[in-house]
Subunit: 118 residues, 2 copies
DNA sequence: TTGTCATATGAACAAATGTTCATATATTGA
DNA sequence: TCAATATATGAACATTTGTTCATATGACAA
C-alpha cells in the first residue's frame, strides 16, 4: 500500500502540488488561524468586539446594548476570553470587559473593508 | 409594554450604552462581517485559501495537496465561491481556482500575525 | 454516440455551536 | 449572617456545519 485515501481525485500536477506544499504554513498554525477566525464568525461576538472598540463595558451593558440575554453574553465572553481577545477587571459586583489585543482591530478592519465594498 | 426581552440584566450605564450604540455599524454589516469570518473559520477552507495564495490550482491538486476528498474540496470551493473569495476558469475538463479578491490576503495576514505571536 | 475523466451536487449523518433555563458563585450593604 | 445584585456555568435542545457516499453533469477522445 502506498498511502492512505485512494480518492478518485485525478492528480494533475504533482510538481506544483509539491511546490505549494513547501510554502504552506504548518498545519497547526493554519488550524489555530481557523480557530481564531471562527471566534470572529458569529454576529453576537462580532458585535461584542465592535462595542468594546468604543469602550470597556460590563456584562449588563452588553446585554442591553445588543439585546441579548445576560447568559448568552456571558457565554460568549467566555469564548472571547479563551481566545484571549478580551480581558476584564472587577469593580465590586460589576465586571468590565475590554479588548486584550491590538491585532483585533486590524483583523476586524481587514474584514470590514471587504464587506463594505460596492 | 415597554420593550421586548425583560432580562434580569442589571442595566448599569444607559448613557454609555447609548453612546456606544451610536457608533456601532449597522446590524446588517456586522452580520455580513460575521459571515465573512465564518468562511475563514474552517481549517480546510483556510488551507485552500492559503494554497491559492501561491498559485491557481485545480480541484484534484487541492484534494491531493490537502489530503481531503474531491467531494469535500468541491463543497468547500462552493462555499468560497458563494462568498466571492475565489473565482475559476475552465480548461477542458479541468477547472482552475484562484483567489478573487485583494482583501483576502490582508484578512489572512491580520489573523496570521495574531496567531504566530509569542 | 460512447466511454472516460474532472468536477459538482444532493441526501444523510455525525459533530460542533449558540441559546435558553435553572442554578451557582461572588461581592456588597443592611 | 442575610438579602440583593452581577456574573458565571452546566445541561438540554435546536441549528448549523463539514464530511461521506452515491450519483449527476460537462467536456473530451475514440
Amino acid at each position: 500500500m502506498t498511502d492512505e485515501l485512494e480518492q478518485g481525485s485525478g492528480v494533475i500536477h504533482q510538481d506544483i502540488i509539491d511546490k505549494v506544499k513547501a510554502e504552506l504554513p504548518a498545519d497547526e498554525i493554519l488550524y489555530d488561524l481557523a480557530e481564531l477566525f471562527k471566534v470572529f464568525g458569529d454576529s453576537t461576538r462580532i458585535k461584542i468586539i465592535c462595542a468594546l472598540f468604543e469602550k470597556e463595558l460590563c456584562v449588563g451593558d452588553l446585554s442591553v446594548l445588543l439585546n441579548v440575554s445576560q447568559s448568552a453574553i456571558s457565554h460568549q465572553l467566555r469564548t472571547l476570553k479563551q481566545a484571549r481577545l478580551v480581558k476584564f477587571r472587577r469593580d465590586g459586583k460589576v465586571i468590565y470587559y475590554s479588548l486584550d489585543d491590538d491585532h483585533i482591530k486590524n483583523i476586524f478592519d481587514a474584514g470590514y473593508k471587504h464587506v463594505i465594498e460596492e
